[in-house]
């Protein structure tokens, strides 16, 4: 299968992934790929299997069938923490912050979790530098000492993004980053995302900008930032292509967009 860019090996690729829960088929032969340097959208109605796909990609669920490749390596049998260390980071639709740690410690703990030896206190200088950089990029300094559990949803999503960025990911999976955000916050979030992917504002020398796979219901945000889309419905891929192609697709309109006026 050729990738969207035509020649480059994608960072992350899922091939024919099927996930059954008892009699329920949550994912049915789903394939998708995330090329380097791109923001790919995964959309579909509620219950289409998007979050299940994320759980399969990050190793929280073992698929019934199918394989996952990451940087050309079959990682289907890797446990979640190994994928995390290798550079697959994610956020959660339902916020999963370390609620009794400060915002700053959330990011520090993330850096320490993903870098070997850090839990024994190694490479502290690098950690301080990287965490400070991400804090600045996401404008988290004003809440640095606040308990993460007491934050607004908007700030909470920023903390989760920051936490993911602190692992120096090669691919970033964002599960509905826009839900619970108001218009201003969504705009800010979209700007930050584009800065992250382009490497703007993130001048860390060792880290290539991550590719992004994003589940999102906010069509404006999706159309704004994604370079390609995969549409799921009842666990099947019903369309893929650029945002404009998908928007024009009859299947998609029927299954998901429903009243197209929303777009």
């Amino acid at each position: 299968m050729a990738s969207e860019t035509g020649w480059e090996e994608p960072v992350l690729r899922a091939t024919d992934v099927t996930m059954r829960f008892g009699g329920l088929v949550a994912l049915d032969d789903v394939s998708l790929e995330v090329p380097a340097g791109r923001i790919v959208g995964l959309i579909g109605p509620n219950g289409a299997g998007k979050t299940t796909m994320f759980n399969v990609l990050t190793g929280l669920l073992e698929p019934t069938r199918g394989r996952i490749d990451y940087l050309g390596e079959n990682i289907s049998r890797w446990p979640p923490h190994r994928r995390g260390r290798a550079g697959i980071a994610r956020t959660f639709q339902r916020l999963a912050l370390f609620s009794r740690l400060s915002v700053h410690d959330n990011l520090v703990a993330s850096w320490e979790s993903s870098h070997p030896g850090a839990v024994l206190g190694r490479s502290r200088a690098k950690r301080i530098e990287r965490v400070a950089e991400v804090m600045g990029l996401l404008d988290l300094w004003p809440v640095a000492d606040r308990m993460a559990g007491g934050l607004s949803t908007g700030k909470g999503r920023m903390v989760e993004l920051g936490r993911a960025l602190c692992t120096d990911p090669r691919v970033l999976l964002l599960d509905e980053p826009g839900s619970g955000l108001d218009a201003n916050e969504t705009a800010a979030f979209s700007a930050v995302l584009q800065a992250v992917v382009s490497g703007r504002g993130d001048r860390h020398p060792d880290v290539a900008p991550p590719a992004i796979l994003m589940v999102e219901h906010d069509m404006a945000l999706v159309m704004d930032v994604c370079s390609s889309l995969t549409v799921l419905d009842f666990g099947r891929v019903i369309a893929r292509g650029t945002p404009s192609q998908v928007r024009a697709d009859a299947n998609v309109r029927a299954a998901y967009l429903g009243d197209a006026s929303a777009v």
């Binding site: 923490h81 609620s99 009794r100 520090v108 703990a109 000492d145 308990m147």
Partner: protein, 676 residues
């Protein structure tokens, strides 16, 4: 075959009572989301009440029964519902703690109300037997119990299955808010469930007491037998739980036939616990906690920034925070070291035998510290911590006593023995959390009691073993003062290590595993390794505490480390503050106070006071410490000069952009207290 029949009949008889208990436990779990650790205590309380009415006051059963079932049990049920209602939707940990607190409170109340002397409850059915077939005897009481149990079980099943009460119950559990909207009164449903469940408990109590004896601890323990069948029904299926209870009763009874031959001594008593442990490990990930998806991830989301205590609000420069893990002489550490220095001089002030009690407080504090790390920091609830203390005490005791080994070597071996056991207890934690983990650790503690600590060659049986005072490199610690100094230094060293670790990467790792294991694993944390290491290390330090416990007491028996001691430890740690080192110190201090020669008439109120304190403070990770801090702050606010005061909590809010200020202002004001 005929030789088995008597055992099968006895098994069916006890099994049918376990079945009732299991159904009662399942009932509150599936309708209210509360797993009732206190179920046995409630049964016990009801049995004592019946004894009072029937045997003591001489009321006939026709009067005593209605009073018990239609007045006492419903009132108790209503009280329990009122107690648990404010906890709806809170984390499993809080509910477990409260439920263990209720257990302790009832255990404490019964001797206060009904006194301590031995008594027997008359059987409600005649104990005569009749002969079935050619040669085996069946008691009328056994038959009567079996019939009543089957009838009541069927009735409850039909009630939940085929009546409006049943459907509204299910609705209220699935989605309380929605159920309210469509006209199901959640409060009424929950209250009915509590009343029914308490009536079951009363029935269990009066059915089982005649054969098991009317003893506070025995009754509580017998009902724990019912936890295994309840889990077998995944805590939701009444028929499965009932059938499993029957099977368990029969298996246990058949095993007792062989137990007498000496080959499998005492295994049969441990069967329900082994079954519980094995079931939890095997069923593992398939067990879901009721209402878990709607529960708050942790306590702190409730209090926002406020519940984190002073550390959360004190704004420190980020550079200071980033340097966090290096040892700094901050206020806490300074206070701790100052207190430590003072503690070293206590023998000058208290030279007498009371010094032993103070030493005991420090030993207990050391043990409590392991639970702070395990439960307060890493979020792994354990109801078996004192089993490790026992392992440490017996191992070190044997080695340094009869075997004449060096004390340090004995301690080292004790810790090495505890490590793999810690890993064994940690295994269920890989797939279980919250309630199920608590049950698995409880089962482990009970298995240790029945299979390990019961062995004469391990523990010296009922009389226990004697342990010499330590001697290290020619220095004898047999004197009260020298032993005290040794214990204080060990406690101090462990506490400082814990404090430094907490501020560093390891401390953060433990806390992220507690706050969101899922997120931690996707960030690269190996949950398996982290949890097993924490369980092993905490087990080892508890064993270290056990070695000193033995050396201090000079004699240890299995009773020192019974399962219930681990529950007491949990209660004391929660009371002190389960996320703080000072919480462990308070736990030790409270324990020490109970060792003082206080008249029993006063001392019997301590457990009750502790249990009530725990129920009140269950939601507060910093326990008494947080409460004291709040009070201090309140006093300081009152004393503060007028002109510097500002309106409400606004002064505390950091200057940030718009939305945050709104959120900060919307969070509960610090110091308002949101406990019960």
């Amino acid at each position: 075959m005929s030789q088995y029949w008597p055992f099968i009949i006895i098994g069916l008889f006890t099994g049918s009572i376990y079945g009732l208990a299991a159904m009662g436990v399942v009932l509150t779990y599936k309708t209210v989301g509360v797993f009732n650790f206190a179920y046995g205590a409630i049964a016990m309380f009801c049995a004592f009440t019946y004894w009072q009415l029937h045997d003591s006051w001489g009321l006939t059963a026709w009067v005593a029964m209605p009073i018990l079932f239609l007045v006492v049990a419903p009132l108790l049920g209503i009280a329990l519902e009122a107690l648990y209602r404010p906890l709806t939707g809170l984390s499993a940990e809080v509910v477990i703690v409260v439920s263990v607190g209720v257990l302790a409170a009832l255990e404490a109340i019964v001797p206060i109300i009904y006194g301590n002397e031995d008594r027997r409850l008359q059987a409600i059915f005649p104990t005569r037997t009749f002969v079935v077939g050619s040669h085996f005897h069946v008691g009328y009481d056994q038959l009567g119990t079996l019939v009543i149990s089957l009838a009541v079980a069927a009735l409850l099943w039909a009630l939940l299955r085929h009546t409006r009460f049943g459907t509204s119950t299910r609705a209220a559990v699935d989605n309380p808010d929605l159920a309210d909207m469509v006209g199901v009164h959640g409060d009424n449903v929950r209250r009915s469930a509590w009343i029914l469940s308490t009536m079951f408990a009363a029935l269990v109590g009066i059915l089982i007491s005649p054969s098991q004896g009317l003893d506070v601890n025995q009754l509580v323990l017998v009902v724990i037998y019912a936890f295994a069948p309840a889990v077998f029904g995944r805590l939701v299926s009444l028929p499965l739980a009932y059938i499993a209870a029957m099977v368990l009763g029969v298996v246990e009874s058949l095993l007792s036939k062989y137990a007498n031959s000496g080959t499998v001594a005492n295994i049969e008593a441990a069967v329900p616990y082994l079954a519980l442990f094995a079931l939890l490990v095997i069923m593992g990930g398939r067990l879901k906690e009721a209402g878990a998806s709607s529960r708050r991830l942790s306590l702190s989301t409730r209090g926002g920034g406020g519940s984190g205590g002073a550390g959360a609000v004190r704004t420190r420069h980020w550079v200071v925070r980033v340097l966090g893990w290096r040892l700094r002489l901050d206020r806490n550490l300074a206070l701790g070291l100052g207190g430590f220095a003072l503690a070293l001089f206590i023998p000058l002030a208290v030279p007498g035998p009371r010094l032993i009690d103070i030493t005991a407080a420090f030993v207990y504090g050391l043990i409590a510290l392991t639970l702070v790390v395990l439960t307060g920091w890493a979020g792994q609830i354990s109801l078996a911590q004192f089993s490790f203390v026992g392992v440490g005490a017996f191992t070190a005791g044997h080695l340094s006593g009869p075997h004449g080994q060096h004390f340090l070597l004995a301690v080292l071996v004790a810790m090495l023995v505890a490590a793999p056991l810690g890993i064994l207890v940690g295994l269920p934690s890989l797939r279980l959390s919250g309630l199920y983990l608590a049950l698995a650790t409880l089962a482990f503690a009970l298995v240790m009691d029945d299979i390990v600590f019961n062995r004469g060659d391990v523990s010296g049986g009922l009389t226990g073993i004697t342990v010499p005072r330590p001697q290290i490199f020619g220095v004898s610690f047999s004197g009260r003062a020298s032993l005290y100094e040794l214990v204080v230094v060990v406690f101090g060293v462990v506490a400082v290590i814990a404090y430094v670790v907490r501020l560093g990467p390891i401390g953060r790792r433990l806390q992220i595993v507690r706050d969101s294991p899922l997120a931690a694993s996707t960030l690269g944390v190996n949950l398996t390794v982290t949890k097993l290491v924490v369980f092993a290390v905490c087990g080892m330090v508890a064993a270290l505490g056990g070695a000193f416990y033995g050396a201090l007491q000079q004699a240890v028996t299995p009773f020192d480390f019974m399962w219930s001691t681990s529950l007491t430890l949990l209660l004391l740690v929660v009371l002190g503050g389960r996320s703080l080192i000072s919480g462990a110190m308070i736990a030790g201090a409270v324990y020490g106070v109970q060792q003082l020669p206080i008249p029993a008439s006063v001392n019997q109120y301590f457990p009750l006071a502790i249990a009530l304190g725990v129920i009140a403070l269950a939601q507060e990770p910093e326990g008494t410490v947080a409460q004291a801090r709040r009070e201090a702050r309140r006093v300081m606010t009152v004393l503060r000069p007028l002109p510097r005061r500002s309106v409400g909590g606004v002064r505390e809010i950091p200057m940030t952009s718009g939305p945050d200020v709104a959120i900060a202002a919307g969070s509960p004001p610090r110091g308002s207290g949101h406990g019960l």
